[in-house]
Every structure is written in structure tokens, then in C-alpha cells.
Amino acid sequence: MEKNRYELALESLKDIVKNIYEQMEMGEIPSMELPARNKYNIKLDLKSGVWKYGDSKITRTAKKIDGAYTLLRTMYMMDFIREMVEENKSSTLRELYYISEGWDLAKFHTQDESNKLAEDLEIITKFLREDFKLRPEEDGATVIGNITFEEINRKGNPQRINCRDDVGDAGYAIPYNVEKEKLKIIDYDADFVLAIETGGMFDRLVENGYDEKARSILVHLKGQPARSTRRLLKRLNEELNLPILVFTDGDPWSFRIYASVAYGAIKTAHLSEYLATPTAEFIGITASDIVNYDLPTDKLNDKDIQALNAELTDPRFNTQFWKNEIELMLKLGRKAEQQALAKYGLNYVTDVYLPEKVSELGI
């Protein structure tokens, strides 16, 4: 019988265990190698136009207490995945974290630790965590606009949803799995996709009817976007050829939100090819907007300044546009929120700001 993708993923995990087992059998200190997951080890992949991990490796070795703990946790997690594959079950990342409570020395102290280890396994095996029967929680990002999806609902039946006519003001909630087997794009009528950082701005655009007025699909990112949100944006871009425009606050953290949509996140650079949309455009708020639109601002705090300086050495921001914007923001010493545009009235963003910005891009 042909093996399913879960069994294949498990096979791949067992190879890691085998490696560790053989090291011990040979009398060697067990260790495990994986790419370094930091900004110094990401490279632009010219073929796909996204940022992926480079060649720099780190070694987890049982020589040190922290390394030994990680190896032990890896063993427990793999054994848990094995059980799930064999018993045909699955769990959320949160459940995995709670299940580790029973793992004695191997238990995780934060969910970040267990999430990160699951990502490590993805990186080593080149499988996705869904293949390990691990899935994220729904994160609540939403879509409003004239686009129709066909989603396989929990009863296993296809269900068509138009994101303008069939949803309430909150919009269509993006499921964690947005692959074709779960979600099909049936039909659409729009010129571009606008991805929005904050709920306040998303609501403003919905109330102002910007989706219909500008023939756009509005996607609420909910801060740093989840994998499924980024994957959906990529599909909209690739399959429908729709331009993706990213609209965020004007501060260093929002710049990173754009970078993760367009170039890929440092944390998940192994999946960049699958999640990043290299053609996504940043439309604001830029540091120049603060000056040009004379926006109300807040002072940069120490952490903001640190983050901006870090971005100056982040290869993803190594373009003239970003250099200028980051340096200007440091010079101004100020940041601004999307909603600062309300200074000129509630309709200003949809009547003046966005039309100006969008036409600059030639859409």
C-alpha cells in the first residue's frame, strides 16, 4: 500500500532519531544539526525572489545541558507524532504544549518553545507541521470583498461563500488550512488586494465601502499575519494575478509585518517559497507620509529605535527605499498610526490618501 504523507513525514522523523541513536551506539555525544534561524543566515533566493535560510548551521549537542534538554524534547515530540500517526489523531500546537506537561523532564516551559521545535522539525525534514498532525489555532484574520470561495466545511461538504454578500461586517474568517483541497477560489471581481494591519483601519475601510468603491479585496492581517493568511495572499497573487498592497502603521514593527508578507519571516524562512509574495507593495504609513501628510505622531521609544537600527542590518531591508525610510524615521524620532489619517476627517483615508497611494503604483 502506498504511504500517505503522514507516514512519509514520520519516516523522515525516524531518520533523525536513527542518526542520534547511531551516534550513541558509536560512543559519540549525540547531536543534531539545523540551519541557524537568525537574520545573519537568510539569503535572497533569486529563482523565487524570496528570502530563505543560508548555509550557516547550529549544532544541538547533548554535551551541554540546554542542548541535552532540546534533544530529549525532540525525542518526546517525535514519539508523540508517531502515536498520532498510528492512531490517526491530530492536535493543535496549544494541545501539544499542554500534553508535554506529562513529559517529566522533557516538558516545555512556554508554547513558544514547543512551536519553535515543531518548526525545527519542518526545517530538518522539509515537511510541514500539518504533515506531523500538528495544526495552529484559528487566528481570526478576515476577508471582505467580492470574491467567492468554496470551502470544505466540517461536515465534509463543499460550501460557497461570497465574501461581500454572504458575510457580516466582520468578514470571512480565514481557516488554518487554505490549500486547494480545503479552499477553492471560484470567482472574483476586483483590481487589487489591500492587506491591513489594524482592526480599526479595517473597520473604517469596510464602513466607507472601500471594497466596492475601489474594487478591492480587504484582508485584515491582525498584526503579524499567521501562516494561513500569508499563504492565502500568495494564492490570490499567484492564481488571480492580483497585486497585493500592504497598509500598516508607520513604525518599525509594521515594517516587519510587510517584510514577512513580501520577503518571508526569519522564523519561517524554510517556508518562504510557499508563504511569501515578493511582489507585494508597501503603501504606508511611511516615514515620508509623516512629513508629507503632516500626521500626528508619537515619540519613538528605546525599543523602537533598537528595532529600526536592527532593520538597517537586516538583509531584507537592504534596499534604497527602506534605507531612506528607516533613516528618516530615526531622524524624525517619531512614528504614526494608520488612524492618524483621521486628523483630516473619517473619509480622508478612502477619498484622498489611498487613491493617491494606489495611483502612484499605477493601479
Binding site: V17, G27, Y40, A62, I65, A68, L72, Y76, L105
Partner: protein, 643 residues
């Protein structure tokens, strides 16, 4: 009557009571709480000084009783030489009597304002006389006095003076009533006595507090303290007023003998040179010196070459006694480390010799997350007030303690950690910031010595902390190989359905250390010492191990297995041959003739790379901090950044 004369008469009659009232702050009686500490301090310091002069081991009883709500009776009794009958009225009944200005040496007494100030304070606040009992050894009978101070004439008003049979060889007992407030904790009588006991381990001090609490600091050193020698003042250490006073009292008939006789470090030739430079006739009568001539003399002192003052007049506490004192009083905090106290060589500021000493204790039950406690002493007397403006505190604050393993915000200020710092400055003239004599002035020469002494002590702390870290890492590794590694092996074998692999070779590779661990069984006057030597490296090991005891004597017969005992140098040598991986050898011996609990032995190794050894130091010479470092650094090398 003429108004001017009337005023003059009134001025004359300004009593010492008024003077006292106006200068309460300066004299240290600004609050009832502080007044009580001052009273105890004056009496106890006098007792300790007197015992020192008479080479008597001090035994001092301090008792405080509550008379009324805010009135207390303080009794201080000592076994000192006593005070001769005719001196009693002057010592206790005459305000600000009796400072010796023409001879200098380090005494406790110069820290204070004199016991008569206490008597006066008691009298002014309660109206009651002071009661004195005194007996000297050469007389069979003692005397009892009751004295009030005549505040107009500043003279003793003796109410009672009668012989009495006192059941002791010699000593003084003073009973004074005063308005006061008794508290415990910071800046209290207990605080003062505790700190006094630390720097006077040769004294027994017994304290009975008004609430029925009894505290006894037993002496741990049974040799009397050698009193410092008196020397004449050094020319660079005197002020104009002092020169005037010395000149008015000298027996010398001419300037040249005045200079050689009344000052230290002035030879005949030097005296003639000084006369020449200052333009004063060397034959002139010193009593006839004018103010300008004295100024010229003082000026001439700075222009000739004078040897620095002798340090004979100083009395450092010394490393042995500082350590004993700290152990005796702070022992209940069970510190895990006592530094070897640092006594700097004597140094000089403006003609005054001084010496700086520092002792540290670390760990145990000393609070972890509070600022380090600084115990300040000048001439063996605790300084309890004005810590913030004191040179001793400033010197601590100006060191970057982070380099030595303590927490300190921004690398300055008082560090945080489980540590207590003792700082002592001894000098013939302690430079105080004010008349209250509560804080030391920041004199560059003194700051420099303090800095050196503190850093020398801090380096010991760093060595200790590095040793401790190596131990912690080792404990971690034991946990790793005993708990975590077997689990990794077990899980991997479950997943792969294979037998659990043998881990011994992996364990020795991870540990890669020869561990020497000492366990001590304390008995009365002796201790049984067991040493385990374990080879956690992948290879056989052969080396020499030396055991050096910290106190007592080694019982040769008890050495197991038999090692070479070197009688002359008092150490044991074991030859360890071909110790197999994961094998352990057990050694033992007994130490006897112990006065207190046995501390710990020092082990040295020879013939093995010290990097692989934990629990012993390389032979010979200093304890190789670099080797230790390399262990820690090797560990840290592998820590590459992960986001």
C-alpha cells in the same frame, strides 16, 4: 553699671549647658535614639582603650534599663585598670576635658567627644547625677562617686565620694540616667555592639537590653591587643593652632631643640635648615614666637625633605583577627565564603599615617537581592551614621563590581548581592567630614588605598564565584548524564524498536573530568576527612594528589590508603595510578587538635592537565584561574546565536 561691662559679664556666664544645647547636633545627641547609642559608644570605647593600654583582655557589661517611658539607666562596667581617685572628677565632671594634643597615636577615644558629654546630657535631661565606681589593682579599696557638672564653672560638683569594697581586681562602672529611646535594628545599640565585637575579637561583651534580651559576644582571641606607640606629631600633619599650643607648653629653650624635641622626623641638621628657610633665629625662645613666625615655620616644613611619619603609632586589626571577628559575629549567617582580609601597608596623607583594611563575606543566608552591607570602622570604632557621604562608602560605589561577579546597575553605586564588606581605616588623625565624626572625608591618598584594598578583596570573590560556577556546571553535567541522557537513549530505542545503547563511552566524553570531592565528618576536636577521586574521562589517568590541611594536625596512622606523609610541610601525597574511566578511589584521614569546626582542605595535583580536574589545584604556585576560565569558555563557545 556700664552696658559693655554688663554684656561682658553675661557673656562670661554663658554656661556649658547652653553651649551643649546649641551644639547638640555636632555632639551627636540630636535624637533620643542616637543619644543612647552615643552614650554606649563613649563608655565602651573608653573601656576598650583603657584595657588595651593596660594589656587586659576586656570584659564589658552593658545594661540598659527603662526607668520611665523615655528615661533609661545605662550601666557600663569593665575590668580595665580603673581610674585613680583624683582623676575621677575631671574625667567625668568636666566637659571636654583631657585630649592629648602633643602626642599622637591611633586610639578609639579620638572618635568621640568624651564621656563627660554623656554625663552632661544625662544631667540636663534627667537632673540626676552620674554614679561611678572605680578600683585600681594596687589598692584594696575602691571608691564610689556621685557627680554633677557645675554648668556655670564647668567643674565637677562631687555629691558623694566614699571608699567601698568592690569585689574585683580593677575596673570602672558607670551608671548614668538619660532621656533616650531604645530601638533595635539599624543604627541601634545592638548594631553598635555587634560591630564593635567584630573588630574586637579579643573582647567579651555582654549586653542586657530593657526588654530582657541578653546578648553575649564571647572573645575568640585570648591575647591582649598591643597598644600602638605614641609618637610626636609629624611636621606635615600639624595646623598653625597646634604649633602655637605646643610652643606655649614646651620645655625647650630654643627653636632648634623645640623642633627636634616636639616633632618627629626632625634631625638637628633639618632643624637648622628649617630655621634658615623661615628666617627665624634658631636660638630664639619658642614661647616668644609670633603668629607670622609660626606661619613661616609651617611653610618651611613643606620646603624641606622630611621622612614620612612612622607607622608605629598605628594599630591595624590584622587579617587573622578580622577573619575571626567576622566568623564570630556573622557566623550565624553561615556565609559560604570569607575573603582573606587585606591589610594594606601604611600610607600617609598630609603628614598623618593611616592604614586601610578590608574583609568580605559572601553567600549563605546573607540576602541575595539587597544592596551589599558595608560595615565602616575608624580606629576600631563602628561608624553608624552618614554612610552616604563617607569615603568608605564612596570607594565601594566607585568600583565596577560587575567585573567581579556581582550585580550593579550601570557599573557604579552600591552593588547588589549576598555580601558584607568590612572596611577599617586606622590613623593617628582620622579625617572626618565634620565635627560629628560620622563620615570620613574623601582624601585622594585614602581613596586610592581603599580602591586597592577593595579590588584585592573583590578578586578573591571572583575566584570564589568562578570555582562555584565550575561546581554548578559539574552538578549540571552529572544531572545531564544521569537523568537526561538515559531518557534520550530510552526514547530513541522505543521509537526505533531497538535495544537501549550502552552509554558509558558517551558519559565520559560529556563529563571529561577527574573529580576530587571532599566530605568532612566533624567530631569534637577532630574531623574525619573522606575524599573521593572519580575519573569521568574516556582515558585511564595517573597523577599525584597532595592534601594540605587548613588547621589542626594530621593523624598519620589514619591515612588510608597509606600515602606519603610529609611531616615537615604537613601534607599527604597519594600516587594515583591507572584510574580507569568511570572508576572511583576513596581516600581518608583524620585531623585532630582542632579548636573549632574544620574548614576545608586544599588539594593539589601534579602530572595531569589541570583543565580536566575539578576540586584540586595545580601544583605548585598560584591557583590557576586561567585554567578554570578555559573550562567555562569552552562551554560558552558553542552558544551561537539563535533568534
Amino acid at each position: 553699671m556700664d552696658i559693655a561691662e554688663d554684656l561682658a559679664k553675661k557673656q562670661k556666664e554663658i554656661s556649658i549647658a547652653e553651649f551643649f544645647e546649641k551644639n547638640k547636633q555636632i555632639l551627636g545627641f540630636d535624637s533620643p535614639q542616637k543619644a543612647l547609642v552615643m552614650a554606649v559608644k563613649e563608655a565602651v570605647d573608653n573601656s576598650l582603650d583603657a584595657c588595651e593600654d593596660a594589656r587586659i583582655l576586656p570584659e564589658i557589661y552593658v545594661t540598659i534599663e527603662r526607668v520611665e517611658k523615655d528615661e533609661y539607666k545605662l550601666t557600663v562596667e569593665d575590668n580595665g585598670p580603673g581610674i585613680v581617685r583624683r582623676e575621677v572628677p575631671k574625667v567625668f565632671g568636666q566637659f571636654l576635658y583631657g585630649s592629648r594634643f602633643h602626642a599622637v597615636r591611633q586610639t578609639r577615644g579620638q572618635q568621640g567627644i568624651g564621656i563627660s558629654a554623656v554625663v552632661l546630657y544625662g544631667q540636663l535631661t534627667t537632673g540626676k547625677p552620674v554614679k561611678i565606681e572605680t578600683k585600681i589593682a594596687s589598692e584594696d579599696v575602691g571608691y564610689v562617686f556621685e557627680i554633677l557638672i557645675d554648668t556655670i564653672k564647668n567643674r565637677a560638683n562631687v555629691l558623694r565620694e566614699e571608699p567601698a569594697i568592690l569585689n574585683k581586681k580593677s575596673g570602672v562602672k558607670i551608671e548614668v540616667n538619660l532621656k533616650a529611646k531604645y530601638v533595635k535594628g539599624k543604627q541601634s545599640v545592638i548594631d553598635y555592639l555587634q560591630n564593635t565585637a567584630i573588630v574586637n575579637p579579643h573582647a567579651t561583651i555582654i549586653f542586657n537590653d530593657p526588654d530582657g534580651l541578653k546578648i553575649k559576644y564571647e572573645r575568640v582571641w585570648d591575647q591582649p591587643i598591643e597598644p600602638p606607640k605614641e609618637t610626636k606629631p609629624h611636621p606635615l600633619g600639624v595646623e598653625i593652632g597646634e604649633i602655637m599650643k605646643i610652643a606655649s607648653l614646651t620645655n625647650a629653650k630654643k627653636i632648634s631643640t623645640f623642633l627636634t624635641g616636639e616633632f618627629s622626623r626632625i634631625s638637628n641638621n633639618l632643624a637648622m635648615e628649617i630655621c634658615k628657610i623661615s628666617g627665624i633665629d634658631s636660638e630664639k625662645d619658642p614661647k616668644k614666637l609670633t603668629l607670622n613666625e609660626i606661619k613661616a615655620l609651617k611653610d618651611a616644613f613643606t620646603k624641606v625633605k622630611i621622612l614620612p611619619p612612622s607607622s608605629e603609632s598605628l594599630s591595624p586589626i590584622g587579617d587573622t583577627l578580622i577573619k575571626k571577628g567576622l566568623k564570630n559575629v556573622l557566623g550565624e549567617l553561615r556565609p559560604s565564603f570569607y575573603s582573606i582580609p587585606v591589610t594594606r601597608n601604611p600610607s600617609v596623607y598630609s603628614g598623618n599615617p593611616f592604614v586601610v583594611e578590608v574583609g568580605l563575606v559572601y553567600g549563605g543566608n546573607i540576602p541575595q537581592d539587597e544592596p551589599v552591607k558595608i560595615l565602616r570602622f575608624a580606629n576600631r570604632v563602628p561608624l553608624l551614621y552618614q554612610a552616604g557621604s563617607c569615603a568608605l562608602t564612596r570607594a565601594v560605589e566607585s568600583i565596577d563590581w560587575r567585573k567581579y561577579g556581582l550585580e550593579q546597575r550601570g557599573g557604579q553605586g552600591i552593588p547588589v548581592g549576598p555580601m558584607i564588606i568590612l572596611i577599617h581605616i586606622g590613623s593617628t588623625r582620622v579625617p572626618y567630614t565634620s565635627e560629628a565624626k560620622e563620615a570620613i572625608a574623601e582624601i585622594p591618598e585614602i581613596m586610592n588605598e581603599l580602591d586597592l584594598a577593595l579590588k584585592e578583596s573583590a578578586r578573591q570573590i571572583r575566584t570564589f564565584l568562578i570555582k562555584k560556577e565550575v561546581k554548578t556546571k559539574l552538578t549540571e553535567k552529572f544531572f545531564l548524564v544521569q537523568k537526561i541522557l538515559p531518557k534520550i537513549a530510552e526514547k530513541s530505542s522505543i521509537i526505533l524498536q531497538k535495544p537501549v545503547p550502552k552509554l558509558e563511552p558517551v558519559i565520559t566524553k560529556i563529563m571529561n573530568v577527574v573529580w576530587i570531592d571532599e566530605k568532612i565528618e566533624q567530631n569534637k576536636g577532630s574531623a574525619k576527612i573522606k575524599v573521593s577521586v572519580s575519573n569521568f574521562t574516556p582515558e585511564k589517568k595517573s597523577f599525584k594528589l597532595y592534601g594540605d590541611i587548613s588547621e589542626g594536625k594530621i593523624e598519620v596512622k589514619s591515612i588510608k590508603p597509606f600515602g606519603n606523609y610529609d611531616e615537615k610541610n604537613d601534607y599527604i601525597l597519594w600516587e594515583i595510578n591507572d584510574l580507569e574511566p568511570l572508576k572511583e578511589i576513596n581516600l581518608e584521614f583524620t585531623v585532630y587538635d582542632l579548636k573549632s569546626e574544620y574548614g576545608e582542605s586544599v588539594y593539589y595535583i601534579e602530572g595531569i592537565n589541570p583543565v580536566y580536574v575539578v576540586g584540586a589545584e595545580p601544583l605548585p604556585g598560584d591557583w590557576n584561574i586561567e585554567a578554570l576560565r578555559s573550562i567555562i569558555e569552552e562551554e560558552e563557545e558553542e552558544e551561537n546565536g539563535e533568534e
